[in-house]
Amino acid sequence: MSGFLLPMAHALASRQDLPIPAWLFAWGASIVLIVSFFALSVAWRTPKLERDRWRPVGAGFSGVLLGRPAQLLCGAAGVFLLGVAVYSGLQGTEAPDRNFALTFIFVTCWLGFPLFSVVFGDVFRPFNPWRAIGRAIGGAFTAIAGQRPAHLTYPDVLGRWPAAIGLLAFVWLEVVYGTSGGVAVGVSPQTTATAALLYTTYTLAMMALFGVEKWCRTGEVFSVYFGMFSQLGAFGVKDGRLGRRLPLAAASHWATVPGSLAMVIASIATTSFDGAQEGAFKGGIEQTFDWLAGTGLSLTASLRLTDTIFLLLCFAGVAAIYLIGVRGMETVRGAPPLKKLRSGFAHTLIPIAFAYLVAHYFSLFVFQEQAQFTYLLSDPLGTAKTDLFGTASGGVDFNLLTANAIWYVQVGALVIGHVVGLTLAHDRATAYWGDFRQAARSQYWMLAVMVSFTCFGLFLLSASNS
């Protein structure tokens, strides 16, 4: 037991998940092992996912979906919703579960877009409020000045690093900064709204410096993060035309930009941290917290510092596992240079990152979206004075999911993510090693990496809330 009482509150998660039982843990881990060995024996010998075989869909359909009216409409909707979120955050109730801002930003968008991106492609792009504002300002400038705005050249070595660091910062704000230090979202609506305004200023400034589209590809956290998940899906836009492609194939060329590996590692690390802080890391966090609080730091500062340390440890741990795997592959005869290996297998972690998201936030998403589309929609400020759509008295049915249903989705997500990750890694290996035997040998290393992540994921689920 902690000497100091940790200030913890579960701002959004009214119902938290039960830890998965030991027998399901064993099932999950066994299936992972069996599937992995099975995968080795049926493996194909030539790369199948290096080319995405993109085929355009009908021009009319594509034109309606990507045309100017749709762009204007989606952009305006994005800006409007950002406005509603900021306004609710600043003017609405302090009660986190009653304020539109928190659920909309941290659940509906943050968890919803990865899901929709995998299924439908990069759906965030048209709704991106900052891109819409940036393009509107750019258009106005061009109309007034009679020339397109000039931009600085973006230093290509930076690649996606700004987005990766931004992702860590975002999750830090979400789960570390909030003084309630709670599960899921610990930050207050007011702080969230202020942070959104700061981020808007920063993003518009960067877009002015480097150009709207350039910044969306490299530095804008949400574009890069949601865009990463959209690479797994079967729909993508090329040269302004919507098309269908081989699922997973687009991912194989996603990580060629510097900083991509950091992005996907940050994604796994942040989800791990959030899943572990109340379970697997609880003891360690309490000890570190006690020690820091004992040195005279304030309780809030101690908790933030402790959580920051553990968040960074997660990042280092995930990176270490992956880099050991890469080092191992390098020892296999005929291996490409280390640098190429390191970025060449980064995309194989995207499915793991997605599986972690589903495993940790599936139930929160299902419960909180009921709130989103009932009382939060009709009464965004949470003042109990408005009822815009007549749904203000609605509530969350926590019986919608049984504990068993949640467990199966969690374990299922991890197992499927594992298989997809292995598939991508094997395919890349057959492309890098001309000799199939060597390619297969290199994959023992990636297999070890994937099994580590999947079993760590299962372990986190089994230890949550301990």
Partner: protein
């Protein structure tokens, strides 16, 4: 050909290990399942009337200076049980049981009892609403 046989052998070994693990662990994990009491059919979660203790000791959470004595209390129940606990507080506040969304006011130096059926599975928090101070964590197992 040879390597294929090795692979198959490895696969079989993995299955064997997995099955063994499963048998060993399953016994452990599902032991409690047989003893699950019949689920209640009561839908109402507003039945928070005081009821006399029935055999089992009703846990009491003592709040001193706005904090639970001995830290946040962990209470575990099976689905279908009745969730019973009492809160003794030296400060006045509102006690909120999340998920079940039950609220009860407590006076300074007063005592309130909760008694309601465990109809929702999961982990839920009971907190002093004004102080945002958790006092208990209720676990409802299926």
């Amino acid at each position: 050909m040879n390597s294929n046989i090795t692979r198959v052998a490895l696969g079989i070994a993995a299955v064997a290990v997995a099955v063994l693990l499963l048998i060993v662990l399953k016994d452990d994990g599902s032991g409690g399942e047989e003893t699950t009491s019949t689920p209640t059919t009561t839908k109402s979660t507003s039945g928070t009337t005081k009821s006399p203790p029935t055999g089992n000791e009703i846990p009491t959470i003592v709040v001193k200076g706005g904090k639970p004595v001995g830290g946040v209390r962990d209470l575990s129940f099976e689905e279908g049980d009745r969730i019973r606990f009492e809160v003794e507080s030296d400060v006045s506040d509102e006690i909120h049981v999340h998920g079940y969304d039950l609220m009860k006011d407590v006076e300074a130096g007063g005592k309130v009892s909760f008694d309601f059926p465990a109809t929702i599975e999961g982990v839920f928090e009971a907190e002093l609403e004004e102080r945002k101070q958790p006092i208990a964590e209720l676990t409802v197992n299926p």
